[in-house]
């Protein structure tokens, strides 16, 4: 080896955590802006990654800009750690960063998720990165992004209320599914990932930081810790989470957690807790094995941990 070679650093095909430092710097600046203006969609350049676009590259860029060798990373898709795309993203993050990985929400410092927020209450110092396909809550009423940008600037959300009202008139109830439009910090309406309505209240006054990032659409936004998040609702027609009160997990018998409904050959359905990390710990505890389960957003009777935030459902009038 020549003297010159000894002086040079060894060849590395990619930067630490894949993104070059300019990309990381840009992302970190955009994240700071997003945290400073809760719910505001911050445009960013969005680099191509060795993962297909639309498969979590927005969340992945945020994760790669935050991850360090000391991080403990959890990745879920539909609540499951072993879902094929979650496994692939986790494998990539670990390979590029050397970070530890976990399936335990309580142990994770950095949690990337598609479509779910875990059942156990996340705490200060934890960051939740949500993958977002469409960051624009106004898309259904205004597809031109320069116009919807103006509407956000003016807090012009009248058309969103109108959509809710029309649903009420036609169907006697609000019909937004996942990604229920919500007002952050009393200012910006966001499209929350698409997480189910069950998870939307978990963003309100949360102890953890939530970053939402859309790679294709090149926008990221944040719900900082201890920020108000309220789903759009009329005073007399309260927001409702999915009604799964009658469903019990087939393995543990647990209720009042978000469930997967699995059609059965004979016509009925079986139910299973969607958060596999939580389910695993619950099952281990029932088998008498040691496992530390944190407090959950919804208790065993289905009460949400912020008293009075969720109101009892109002039955549609005939």
């Amino acid at each position: 080896m020549s003297e010159l070679q000894k002086l040079a650093s060894p060849r590395e095909d990619y930067a630490y955590a894949f993104l070059d430092s300019y990309a990381k710097r840009e992302l970190r600046r955009r994240m700071l802006k997003a945290i400073a203006i809760p719910g505001y969609q911050v445009p960013y350049a969005s680099r191509e990654l060795p993962i297909a676009r639309g498969w979590g590259t927005g969340g992945l860029q945020v994760t790669l800009a935050l991850v360090g060798p000391e991080s403990v990373v959890k990745v879920i898709d539909q609540g499951a750690d072993d879902s094929v795309n979650a496994a692939n993203l986790r494998r990539f993050i670990a390979r590029m960063s050397g970070a530890q990985t976990t399936t335990d929400t309580l142990k994770a410092t950095l949690l990337q998720s598609r479509h779910r927020i875990p059942e156990e209450v996340m705490g200060e110092g934890q960051a939740l990165v949500l993958q977002v396909p469409d960051p624009e809550p106004l898309r259904a009423v205004q597809s031109d992004s320069s116009k919807s940008h103006q509407m956000h600037a003016d807090a012009d959300y009248g058309q969103m209320w109108l959509v809710l009202y029309e649903q009420l008139v036609r169907y006697r109830q609000v019909l937004h599914g996942a990604s229920y439009p919500s007002l952050v910090n009393g200012r910006y309406v966001i499209s929350p990932s698409p997480i189910p309505r069950w998870d939307t209240p978990k963003l309100h006054q949360a102890a953890h930081l939530t970053l939402l990032s859309a790679g294709r659409e090149k926008r990221l936004y944040a719900v900082p810790p201890y920020t108000d998040v309220y789903p759009l609702e009329f005073e007399d027609v309260p927001f409702q989470v999915e009604d799964q009160r009658e469903w019990a997990d087939q393995h543990t018998g647990a209720r009042h957690k978000f469930m997967n409904e699995m059609p059965q050959p004979e016509g009925g359905a079986a139910y299973e807790i969607s958060d596999t990390g939580f389910l695993e710990k619950l099952a281990a505890q029932q088998r008498g094995q040691a496992s530390t389960i944190g407090s959950t957003y919804y208790d065993d009777q289905g009460n949400f941990y912020h008293n009075g935030y969720l109101k009892p459902p109002v039955q549609p009038e005939d």
């Binding site: 990619y14 496994a87 399936t103 649903q167 109830q173 969607s274 549609p316």
Partner: protein
């Protein structure tokens, strides 16, 4: 510590192994075969990948088993990590080594119509002889060898057209039109450093986009996507008939400044192509011709004619909804469009469950105790945003 979460991990690795097992082996010879025998395929991938690297593009094509969207993604994902070492000098069409330059706007133009390499006037007949046992295909016969027609350009030995060599410089058709007062004179361009030019791969995209973003997006755009939207404009949803003012295939020098000596030198040559379309039916407040322009790395004529037409459409005051800048730029992005399309293979059972919950509430509100009426439900599904 790395937690392998049960089945998913193993499944994805086996799936990738099976994909590679079902296609042939990749060798260095194969990569060079692809480069040499399929240059238009390599060009298309380089153009959409926006990285001029024939060997890497051929590698990407081979590695993806010929799946072009995968190949473009491979190239893009590599490109996105590469540092900017230098900014090249602008390439001027007059100084490119032009091998094909045609204009549909005039019978003849200064510098001449140069057909160059093209399949445009070939008979599209499969050469089945090769499959029937012939060792290799003869190239098409050289017509000048038989009739010695001066029109085609003959030299002493009868096979090389060098005696009737084409012009070295091809003046722009648009320059002639400017001289005739048919086109507005070009505004004097202020010299700019390359780093100051907006870059669609490094800047957030906002609308209205700077013209640089638009042209860069067209250069990187999906050939099929640009063709679909461009064809829609040409066929009847557009306002204007595109006349090909000038189409060029060329080799361009990549001239960069030496960091130490300050000398400008050529770092290599790249294949480039550009198309300019013109219309006489532009905006009312501008009496002259209106131009549309597109250029890309590699030779890709269909994409550029469609792209230049879209450029012209996007500049109109009230374009068709499918020809607005936002619509064109977002929906012709190959990596994003293909990625999002195939992402629907991913599980969506959480969001589906959330909608199903709504559906059941409506059923119980309107049809409690009776069987659901499918026709009414259809109406309800459509109403849900």
């Amino acid at each position: 510590m790395y937690v392998a979460a049960k089945g998913g991990e193993n499944a994805i690795q086996q799936s990738e192994r099976l994909f590679h097992a079902l296609k042939g082996e990749i060798t260095r010879e194969l990569i060079h075969e692809i480069m040499n025998t399929l240059p238009y395929l390599v060009d298309r991938v380089m153009g959409e990948g926006s990285l001029y690297a024939p060997e890497l593009a051929a590698m990407a094509i081979a590695q993806a088993g010929g799946d072009l969207y995968e190949a473009v993604l491979l190239l893009r994902a590599y490109r996105s990590t590469q540092p900017r070492l230098a900014y090249a000098e602008p390439v001027r069409p007059e100084t490119m080594i032009t091998v094909r330059r045609i204009s549909a706007a005039f019978k003849d133009i200064p510098g001449g119509q140069v057909l160059g390499p093209s399949l445009d006037y070939s008979h599209r007949i499969l050469n089945l002889d090769l499959l029937d046992g012939m060792d290799s295909l003869d190239p098409p016969a050289d017509p000048s060898a038989h009739n010695g027609s001066a029109e085609m350009g003959t030299s002493a030995n009868g096979s090389s057209p060098s005696a009737n060599a084409a012009a070295r410089v091809y003046p722009l058709v648009a320059d002639w039109q400017r001289g005739q007062g048919l086109l507005k004179p070009t505004a004097e361009a202020q010299p700019r450093h390359g780093a100051d030019i907006p870059d669609v791969t490094r800047d957030p995209v906002l609308f209205p986009a700077p013209r640089e973003h638009r042209l860069q997006a067209l250069a990187r755009a999906d050939t099929g996507g640009v063709l679909a939207l461009g064809y829609a404009s040409m066929r009847g949803y557009g306002l204007i008939h595109p006349t090909v003012n000038e189409l060029r295939l060329a080799h361009a020098e990549v001239n960069v400044q030496h960091p130490m000596t300050g000398e400008i030198f050529s770092a290599g040559r790249v294949r480039v192509s550009q198309a300019e379309v013109a219309t006489t039916g532009g905006s009312k407040d501008q009496p002259g011709l209106t131009l549309g322009f597109a250029a890309t790395l590699g030779w890709n004529e269909v994409k550029l004619i469609a792209g230049a037409t879209l450029d012209m459409e996007m500049s109109q005051p009230n374009p068709h909804p499918a020809h607005t800048e936002e619509f064109v730029m977002y929906h012709t992005e190959p990596v994003e469009a293909s990625g999002f399309c195939i992402h629907f293979k991913l599980p969506h059972y959480v969001t589906f469950a959330s909608s199903l919950d709504n559906l059941r509430r409506v059923i119980s509100t309107f049809y409690a105790g009776e069987a659901a009426q499918p026709s009414s439900l259809d109406a309800m599904r459509q109403a849900s945003p």
